[in-house]
Symmetry: D2
Subunit: 140 residues, 4 copies
């Protein structure tokens, strides 16, 4: 059985980022998949993402987490005006240099949406970070 | 009475970012002040920081928050190898385009450090975001 | 200059807890002060609040933090139907047996309210915990 | 294949709570299962757990979440002296009166342990709350 498709396509979301979210081009994440309340994005390897110790920096991981949650929220609601209300992240292990894949899922949609995202080194392995987040949808 | 000076100077911290933290140059924050467990950084105005609605994006605010906490942790401990263990942020209001100033303070140092940071639009006003965070110091 | 008074009195809030919040009587916090977006509550000393090591348990501190934020939200909005949407807490130091005082302030009111609370051992000293939280107001 | 057994049994954990954690008897949670880094506890139905609106109060849910994470940490490490360092919880939906089951898993053990816990109404259904947490192990 197919999982329900998202309310935005991968191409549509890429266009949305290009047209409306200038900051996103700096992060340079690849959009792998968007479903109805799920999304997967990938931060490609780049030495410019690292910090002391050669691991991927916290801000790059947080940016990836936030953007992946945004894709999942838009996939579930179709509402591009959603904004992060709160985000809590645990950094579990140092993220080795290389790509990072984030997998988000939304646990509740509504005026306030709630979701989570796990971040893995590319090619899998143990999670390097885990975040929960709430999102607010503007009054329509 | 002077407040106790930090264990790293503003110049020393700028050098540390340049030499050891490649990701930090992308963020481009100015270092305003570092004390013993306090720090203040400023994200200059840049259209590339914004998101839909013209407000400063969450990832840029989280990056500024994390970097300001890092400055305060190094100011309190002198330990540049500190890493973020957890960070929780509330986005309180849309951050208008323009500069953003972050003010961090450390509430506890030790194996695990604990701190908070408030973010304000440049020229002050009401806070746009507020974060708490724990940091781990490597075994020495 | 007097600070603006809260939209509920200390007596009114005590009555609200007694009438509508059965769980609150188990916690047994004293209501010290409620202003317009501020509140202070006190958890009296009780051996039944402790955990291994003789310190006050995390759940009792979280309960005190949540209840103090609730008082501050009701003080700012008059809306008793507010519910916690998210809460993030850092446990900073072991809380010695004895009373604990919590001081909350609301940074934003609206559909989503945002606030913070610091917890101190009775008679002051360094903070033992610090939390940030968002609250949702029901549609009116 | 059997999953690896925890470093404490359900009976051993119950005894630990009785002997060393006075606060836990107030919460009255049942211990359903403890594995190596996993645990499941249940909060039995009790009108004294509710708040305005007839839903289970946030503090009771946070207490259950924290205690279930503790069981999972002790199951993974055998170290009863572990203490919560940070906890972030999203309240996703109102928790209907009745029992609540919490399922925790530890994503990393070490000096700092990291885990998450989902809370469900008894008899399952959609999650009512979701938390992530870090725990500190004392120096041995």
């Amino acid at each position: 059985m197919d999982k329900p498709s998202g309310l935005i396509t991968v191409d549509g979301f890429r266009q949305l980022l290009q047209d409306q979210h200038p900051f996103a081009t700096r992060i340079g994440a690849e959009i792998l998949d968007i479903g109805h309340g799920t999304a997967s994005l990938r931060l490609p390897p780049d030495d410019a993402h690292t910090r002391l110790g050669g691991i991927i920096s916290g801000p790059m991981l947080m940016a990836l987490a936030d953007l992946t949650l945004y894709a999942a929220v838009v996939g579930a609601t179709g509402n591009a005006e959603a904004v992060t209300s709160s985000l809590s992240i645990n950094f579990i292990r140092g993220a080795p240099p290389g790509g990072v894949v984030a997998q988000a899922r939304i646990l509740k949609t509504g005026r306030i949406c709630s979701g989570e995202v796990h971040l893995y080194p590319d090619g899998n392995g143990q999670p390097v970070a885990h975040a929960i987040s709430t999102w607010a949808l503007p009054r329509s």
